[in-house]
């Protein structure tokens, strides 16, 4: 396309069995783990968010 470059196609998993709850909990308060779900990974998928330099 001339005007639009799609960086990421759909990334929200809405289908199938969702909500198994096996992923990390994610407090976002200032005094705690400071994780929003934006930086969480699905426990059932292999690849994790880029927490290490090697895997960026």
């Amino acid at each position: 396309m001339k005007h639009v470059n799609t960086v990421v196609k759909s990334c929200l998993h809405k289908e199938g069995k969702i909500g198994c709850g096996e992923c990390n909990s994610s407090c976002q308060s200032a005094c705690k783990t400071s994780c929003t779900v934006g930086n969480q990974s699905c426990a059932r998928r292999e690849e994790r968010v880029n927490t290490k330099k090697e895997s960026k």
Partner: protein
Amino acid sequence: MVHCFTYTHEGKPLFFAWDVESGSLHNVDEAAFLVCKNKFGELTDEERQKFDAVSDVEKREIEEELFKLESEGLLNTPETRVDLPFSGEIKAMCLHICHDCNLRCSYCFAKDGTYNTPRDYMSFEVGKAALDFLFENSGNRHNLEVDFFGGEPLMNFDNVKKIVAYGKEKAKSIGKDIKFTLTTNGVLLNDAAIEYLNAEMDNVVISIDGRKEVHDKLRVSPNGKGSYDVALKNAKKFRAVRGDKRYYIRGTFTQNNLDFSVDALTLNDEGFDQISLEPVVLPDESPLAIHESDLEKVYEEYDKLSEEYIKRRKGEKWFNFFHFMIDLKNGPCVAKRLTGCGAGKEYVAVTPTGDIYPCHQFAGGDGKYYMGNVLSGTFDRNIQKTFAGINVYSKEECNKCPAKYYCSGGCAANSYNFNKDLKKPYGLSCKMMRRRLEDSLAIYCIEHGGND
């Protein structure tokens, strides 16, 4: 919902259209940005003038491209609602191992670590009963989490060790996986503690605020002496042995250091590569509080930090800033995104006396959401249901917010503390959240350079 935003990289503007419901991110040119924003949002006066100057031919061309994206489900995607399961299972627990602290940080929400309760240390018996409660209520959940929190957990280190040993053995015997985290101010992080935490903790969180003068002004011992030198020295030692295992340095920024990008970079300069800096959450009247009027400065700092972040991540000083980390490929499912922290629903906090609260921030408050006690075996399922009902769908503001799948509806404790309503988000945090998210998306685009 389509959210159009800009980001300035190396002095040049980048334009984005973000399809909230599908999660698709488009890097567009300025003309397409204006057409998109005109179509899905509201142009500013200045943008309107520019939009008017785009030729009809170009506008048509852009409309065609947008139409194609819409038909592929990558733009203006309608919302699909999902069921949010509630099983009543508990999977994570915050153990208030110690309601006491060796520091007197001015901004501590827990009032010197005491939570407005008498100074107290959790016994092994209470810790064991708490873990038993977790195991018994974890149902089919395999992955369980426990975090040691205070006050200062290392002031009750012997019981931390006993509780961890008990938890790991019991988990093994019933075929579950239990992970432990400990948050410390670093003062008591001696060689023996470093060795133990490195071996036993899945994650270790050390609180340092950045620059010495910033840290020492607020993170002081009872006699008023700053704790920076000792915390930094110990944190560096810990970092040296930690390797690739999980840890992070977390700090708080306040009215005293609205130029917090310097603090994040200072931590990186000290050799840390996992860094989080959070805005303090305090009532407006506190001298340390961040106000609406500070937002422009806060945004400016996030933007400044993001530019330096992109640079540093290309070289030796690579680091992660928690609020810029975003997983656009393998993030959690939508159910998780819509429910967030799970406080009171699948996550609870237990105090030294065994009292159960929805999370650490509700402990020692007005007691409204006291849930029970692990020693007496009480647990209020009605409160659990109330908290299970807190999600993006149940919050009016969040439903309309472009950040909803990343923020998950914010912190229920902040909502309650500021608005006396679990479902009314704390607006100042929302604004910062949305800005950080825009920066994170732009960083992702710059680092990944384009196509999916």
